[in-house]
Amino acid sequence: MSGVRVLVGTRKGAFVLTADGTRRRWEVSGPHFGGWEIYHLKGSPADPDRLYASQTSGWFGQQVQRSNDGGKTWTPVGNRFVYDGVPGTHQWYDGTPHPWEFKRVWHFEPSLADPDTVYAGVEDAALFRTTDGGASWHELSGLRGHGTGPHWTPGAGGMCLHTILQDPSQPRRLYVAISAAGAFRSEDAGASWKPINRGLRSQHIPDPEAEIGHCVHRIALHRSRPGTLFMQKHWDVMRSDDGGDVWREVSGNLPTDFGFPIEVHAHEPETVYVIPIKSDSEHYPPDGKLRVYRSRSGGDEWEALTKGLPQKDCYVNVLRDASSVDSLDPCGIYFGTTGGQVYASADAGDSWAPVVRDLPAVLSVEAQTLA
């Protein structure tokens, strides 16, 4: 019988949640790597039992853990992330030049085809790749070196490369997003890059329509229509139908268009989910009501999904990597909060229930659909 495995990264360890295809009863394993910040875990689409985890610590730095058995056992692999050449400087918060310094891996994106090939998005923003299962990591420095790098600035959470998307129809096409630089696209498997931020407007930069400087929080695509991208920006929910060449706003009737994650339904490329947060200075849901918003029209028209979610006195946040969908039918959707809850819906968002309520603050959630 089919099943689901949900990989949860938290401030104090990793947890693995598993259920059968009904998604009614869950088993929880963990904490794995107790006491460490687990920014992200993700499984290989080509081998779902191959998992990668980013284990970090302000004291002890970066570790990369790999599992070959679906998270039952783990082995540390390579943790040497060295920028290519002389790294140079980017812009600091006050506008002065600041040296590029590796801090941590925010996101792993395993290749669609090869379990040993994985992309890593890191802080300070850069893209690395391994082709030997994590033993060694090499920077794809065409991103940092394409010209705008010295002008990138950190967002409030640091200058992180947090989103990596692969186009399943064009294997050499990649997208990344960086806070607070914007979105970028490569057509040659990461060798060269161009900014794709036309149509974005951001009031926190001197020229609101500048080529770079936008605080993109997340981008999502549907594998059947990879030229259509959905973006949750610092403010504004955006859409592009030409691979990011031009964006248009689709915030529509959302109660606030600030937020972090954005997801696309596994079977409906025009069904999109966001979790609105009150503002950039108040990182909790408006009115103390935790609501997921769903659009079945690719944006502009949104409906609140509230059944099973707290509708009073709720002041948690949902971070950019802390939501995911499975590919069962009906589509399952999951998200984790800074209050340690992981909520699941087995009916595409119509109703919700907590899988766990009392984990450490959740940093990332990834759902795997198991055969």
């Binding site: 004291w59 002890f60 570790q63 040497r80 060295v82």
Partner: protein, 98 residues
């Protein structure tokens, strides 16, 4: 033998239960002790000092014989009691955060 005491998280990472005993070739210094430690436990590379610059990570301290040796030169000799194995070389995570 040099005795090195590691913080809990690094013991877990290195899969050791208690203090670590190391043979160190030549002068016993911070650098030579950490070289020997990383050679025996490669998983600790990058956790105590930077892998490229070999600078001590900011939240790591080195104590021995009731002294803070964190700011000593990496090639300065460690106290004789450490070199003889009578006293451990302590790798400590600084008190910070929660």
């Amino acid at each position: 033998m040099i005795v090195v005491a590691l913080p809990t998280h690094l013991r877990t990472l290195a899969r050791v239960d208690g203090d670590v005993a190391l043979e160190v070739e030549g002068p016993v210094t911070q650098g030579s002790v950490l070289d020997a430690l990383e050679a025996s436990y490669p998983v600790l590379r990058g956790t105590i000092r930077d892998q490229v610059t070999l600078k001590r990570r900011p939240f790591i301290r080195f104590f021995a014989c009731r002294r803070d040796l964190s700011h000593e030169a990496p090639d300065a000799p460690l106290p004789e009691a450490v070199a003889s194995g009578a006293e451990p070389f302590l790798v400590v995570g600084a008190i910070a955060g929660g």
